[in-house]
Symmetry: C2
Subunit: 309 residues, 2 copies
């Protein structure tokens, strides 16, 4: 843990020095200008830092064994998924007295939220409200939410209608989230799976339009490699709306497992350094057969790219 | 003309030197990587240059008088709009033996192209084919095309369906355009006006998906200030797909006429310099009462920002 933190700090400081030396700090001011007004006013970028979190899906054992692995592997946090109401008590208990933070919790997708049935929409709103309470109890800074999915029992309306309904329905919940110290995290997802919000600029402009600090975006490398055209540009467009990053390669495997992984991660990390990103980068890739064996090597691969970005 | 060209070259060269000095050149390689493979392979950015073009709408007089004004004001090119078939001969005649180039021609919007009537779709295809021929005759590098508009006599399908129809219908026309030395230029337009293709990454991923060199995007500052969240990020996402830039402020007036114009133009120009943009920046703003008087001042304002970006 200490060694990896030190390595991250060195990379972060180097990055900050490089910026100030090259005049990129003024670009950082521009990148953050739409949202973090105090930051923009100070004309000083946040200090970017690479902080790893892990999901639990490919980790063997019960919850205690999974968290033990995550902790001793040098992760700073864990990303939780599963029905929040069913799991909240066991998560709280298992995390008590551990140094691990919670980077985020996976709430689900907004399909019911845009249903033409008022009862279904209300069910979705109630579920998200309960998740906001749980995020508060678990100190989870982000609730990961996916746009309306095609192929669910509930049909989804067109993109423009969905965006409008989501804006109207979610905006009041954003206030609740902000008060609870968490954020409703919109995760842009590929256009073949969801009907709107496919790119970081889509997500960031949605957050902007809510005019609420209770929204953020989740930048998932696996999705971005399919939907974005330039990952530095995407991260700049996401700017200070990005509160969570998901790490996986194009095949939802560990970054570095494919030969072509280097370039997009370098490109994306460069953008994250430009915006002074210091939220968690959470693994959301890898297979149960190889995750425990390979994730350390993958962290080294990513730390090296971060330092070079 | 000579003075302004010299000023632009100095800014361009300075920019190139700054890049090479600061390591931004590697970022440029990343920015261009998705499309201009030869450029990416060379790891050397194109030399960005600010080249002005003007539209004719706010210029008084007949076509000859309008072109005289544009020429003596130091523009390198003119952007043509109006029904192409009706105007082609008079444009050819009026431009003969002038130094002015044609930066682009305004074709229209794709509304009929996504109609559920095969006859209407065919009419749109035939019109675009004729425009490609005209672009060839006038050496216009870009045919400016707007996504399907709401509020036309023909209703538009949802965003996903429209994008799919446009991809299928336009891709073969892209080959024609490339052979004719022009490009079908997708101009992202605000979401309240058109049903799809609202941001530069939307336009760039559309171009990418055609797999044809006959497509490009048109980056309009007036639109971008409403739809994008960061103009540097937008330009990086557009990358080498950007073949045309439209200059206007948020109110479709001349850049610099509002106090808040400086920041977005600086931000956008920074992105254009990063991607080594050297296509035309064409005025598409201003009022007939003030354009002729103010456009020179506006060009100075923009040249100053370009040098600082």
């Amino acid at each position: 843990m200490n060694t990896s933190s030190a390595a991250q700090n060195t990379a972060g400081q180097l990055n900050r020095r490089q910026w100030l030396a090259t005049g990129l700090s003024s670009l950082a001011g521009l990148a953050g200008m739409h949202t973090t007004h105090t930051q923009a006013a100070a004309q000083e970028p946040l200090q970017a830092r690479l902080k790893f979190s892990s999901w639990l899906k490919p980790v063997r054992g019960d919850l205690k064994q999974q968290l033990d692995f995550v902790e001793r592997s040098g992760f700073e946090a864990v990303e939780l998924r599963g029905t929040i109401a069913n799991n909240k008590q066991s998560w709280l208990k298992a995390l008590k007295d551990r140094p691990l933070k919670v980077s985020g919790m996976d709430w689900g997708h907004f399909t019911l939220m845009v249903s033409d049935s008022a009862a279904e929409r209300q069910k979705a709103v109630d579920s998200l409200k309960a998740a906001i309470d749980a995020a508060h109890e678990l100190s989870a800074p982000v609730l990961v939410c996916v746009p309306p999915r095609y192929g669910q029992p509930t049909a989804v309306p067109d993109a423009a209608t969905s965006r409008k309904i989501l804006l109207e329905t979610l905006t009041p919940l954003g206030e609740l989230a902000a008060k609870a110290g968490t954020c409703i995290g919109i995760e842009p997802v590929r256009r073949k799976s969801v009907n709107c919000l496919h790119t970081l600029v889509d997500g960031a402009s949605f957050c902007r339009d809510t005019k609420s600090p209770g929204f953020c975006i989740v930048a998932d490398f696996c999705i971005m490699m399919e939907e974005e055209t330039n990952l530095t540009g995407a991260m700049l467009s996401g700017g200070s709306h990005i509160h969570q990053v998901h790490l996986a390669n194009r095949g939802r495997n560990l970054p570095g497992e494919n030969a072509e992984d280097e370039r997009p991660f370098l490109e994306g990390f460069r953008g994250l350094k430009m915006i002074g990103y210091n939220g968690y980068c959470s693994f959301e890739g890898g297979q149960i057969e190889t995750y425990e064996q390979n994730v350390g090597k993958c962290m080294s691969f990513l730390r090296d790219l971060w330092a070079r970005a």
